[in-house]
Amino acid sequence: MKNESYENIKHSSPSDKTSASARVIAVKVDDLTVAYNYKPVLWDIDLEIPEGVLMAIVGPNGAGKSTLIKSILGILKPIAGSVSIYDKPYEKQRQLVAYVPQKGSVDWDFPTTALDVVMMGTYGSLGWIKRPGQKEKKASLEALEKVGMLAFKSRQISQLSGGQQQRIFLARALVQNASIYFMDEPFQGVDATTEIAIINILKELRKAGKTVIVVHHDLQTVPEYFDWVTFLNVKKIATGPVKDIFNDDNLTKTYGINYKVSIQE
């Protein structure tokens, strides 16, 4: 008994940050298989995401990137497989997890304001029936400030630009004060300013010890933005530190074509 715990401590020395085996596993996916009709969209995915990484999920269109996130979060029902968050089933750990859906998944003409949408992030901890009060409002305003949208708090959401809408979604997740963040293409259709603002927030989250998982499309920015990466194309191709596995070999395996990245040093 004593020996074992000693062993553990020795392994998890902070200098050894990129080795997955030594780190606490935040998200663990086992044998996950998802199909909409006959053909599986995800096939037998095993995935361990260590705590405190900023991870990109990359893969071609139809590779099942969004599906993977949605199945982990219980939005889609998998055919087989299980998901655990910090060694417990996801259903018991919901409050540790926040989700930023694709911007296009909702109708932005819905009659509500930016602050109202951010407040929705507090609904989970409130539970049924109980309404948000001053405390929730304060937290939401803080989240709005963090994403640089405080001046727009009373704005009808349809009157926000695409980038601003994305920031509102981010603020809604921030207000949940979770440990693990799942984001579905947060950089889609945003301008350079917003992209930088968002990536800075994500890096801040990582600095605070949070785990951030992002469906990402722009391969060029992977080495710059992320420290962990998962290649996905129905099956999991590879997962690990960007500096070890983000190479032509894995890209070719994932995208099928002879892919050459030019990583600028």
Partner: protein, 384 residues
């Protein structure tokens, strides 16, 4: 008693007096007002969920239930028939949900399919009933187009109670309804049982529709759900205000519709109520300050004029720039080269003290020059 009671055009005060004193008229007015309020309220949810057609499918799906309830009980008691309508309406609704989730069919196809199948079956049963040697059978077809005159006090009580429960549930689960309407997937990740919330909303929509069948009828019922909500959406950007306004519009449609049909001979109430609700919609679509067509068009024209003005100023700035003295006069003829130039835009620029006119010559003032130079930079800073 019949319609002769209300025959001829009455003046308004006389009519209002009658609403309070005449039992039948009072019952009908109250009934249609409550019905309008509850359908308007719930209609907001249907419209925001993009399920506008759901109401139409539910009301048509209720018809076979009415017929079967009559065939089983042989009685024309409205409560019994409405229970039949409720059951078959719910079955139709859950079949629609089933079709959408289990097959590749889109929801509009599923709605259309259930609507026509159930309605066709209902019509078949109605014609079958009419051939039966049962003296009781006459009048079942009132559920097709509704007959407000048949409302009695107990019907109105039933409507009031259901509306009250609906209001209570809506206020209790307001937060849950709102978040489900906006972002169902996200709601799920927060740990809410979205299916339960969905069933709650849908059940109340079915209830409201069934309550209205006697008054407005199967065919026109969906308008009661949609029209007040569509009108209300034009006036506000807040969900609570929208629901409240839709209830008000619905109630007023009921009251005005009843008044018009009661004061004119032989106008059936249901269609008139729907038409009044339609007037609310048309009015709102045209005159709403932020979303209405009228003000949108006015803003559009104004924006165009501003842009034309800016472009003319920019063109002048371009010419003025070539001279060392920015206020060096140039001939007006020069401006004819510019497409957007008109005499009135020039006059406006003079009014704003951007341009100075002297005979056939114009010159930019210092403020005009600076305004022109800052046109684009100003716009880009406003953006963020």
């Amino acid at each position: 008693m019949g319609d002769s009671h209300f025959a001829g055009i009455m003046d308004i005060t006389e009519y209002i007096k009658l609403v309070f004193t005449d039992y039948t008229l009072r019952t009908i007015t109250l009934g249609t007002a409550i019905l309008g309020a509850v359908t308007g309220m719930l209609g907001s949810f249907a419209v925001l969920r993009k399920q506008s057609l759901l109401g139409d499918a539910i009301s048509h799906a209720a018809l076979p239930g009415i017929a079967i309830a009559f065939l089983i009980t042989g009685a024309k008691d409205s409560n019994t028939l409405l229970i039949g309508a409720l059951i078959s309406g719910l079955i139709g609704t859950f079949w629609i949900r089933g079709i959408v989730t289990k097959t590749h069919l889109k929801s509009d196809t599923a709605l259309g399919l259930i609507l026509s199948l159930f309605f066709g079956f209902g019509m078949l049963l109605l014609t079958f009933i009419q051939k039966q040697p049962n003296a009781n059978q006459a009048g079942l077809d009132k559920y097709l187009f509704g007959q407000a005159a048949t409302l009695v006090e107990s019907d109105v009580w039933l409507m009031a109670i259901v509306t009250g429960i609906c209001l209570l549930v809506m206020l209790t689960f307001w937060k849950e309804f709102k978040i489900l309407l906006f972002d169902a997937d996200y709601t799920k990740t927060l740990g809410f049982n979205t299916k339960l919330i969905d069933i709650l909303i849908t059940t109340f929509i079915v209830l409201a529709i069934v309550l209205g069948l006697q008054t407005v009828g199967v065919v026109l019922m969906s308008a009661m759900l949609l029209a007040p909500a569509a009108a209300a959406r034009q006036w506000t950007n807040s969900l609570s205000t929208m629901v409240f306004l839709a209830a008000i519009f619905g109630a007023f449609s009921g009251v005005f519709g009843t008044a018009i049909s009661a004061s004119q001979d032989n106008l059936s109430t249901g269609p008139v109520i729907v038409l009044v609700a339609g007037v609310f919609v048309v009015f709102s679509f045209i005159f709403s300050p932020s979303r209405g067509l009228l003000f949108k068009q006015i803003r559009f024209i104004k924006n165009r004029r501003d842009l034309e003005l800016h472009k003319t100023l920019a063109f002048m700035h371009h010419i003025a720039e070539t001279h060392e003295n920015i206020s060096h006069p140039h001939t007006i003829k020069l401006l004819n080269n510019f497409q957007g130039y008109t005499r009135s835009t020039l006059q406006k620029l003079v009014d704003k003290d951007y341009v100075h006119l002297n005979g056939n010559m114009w010159s930019l003032t210092k403020t005009g020059f600076e305004a022109a130079a800052n046109l684009y930079t100003k716009q880009s800073t406003e953006d963020e």
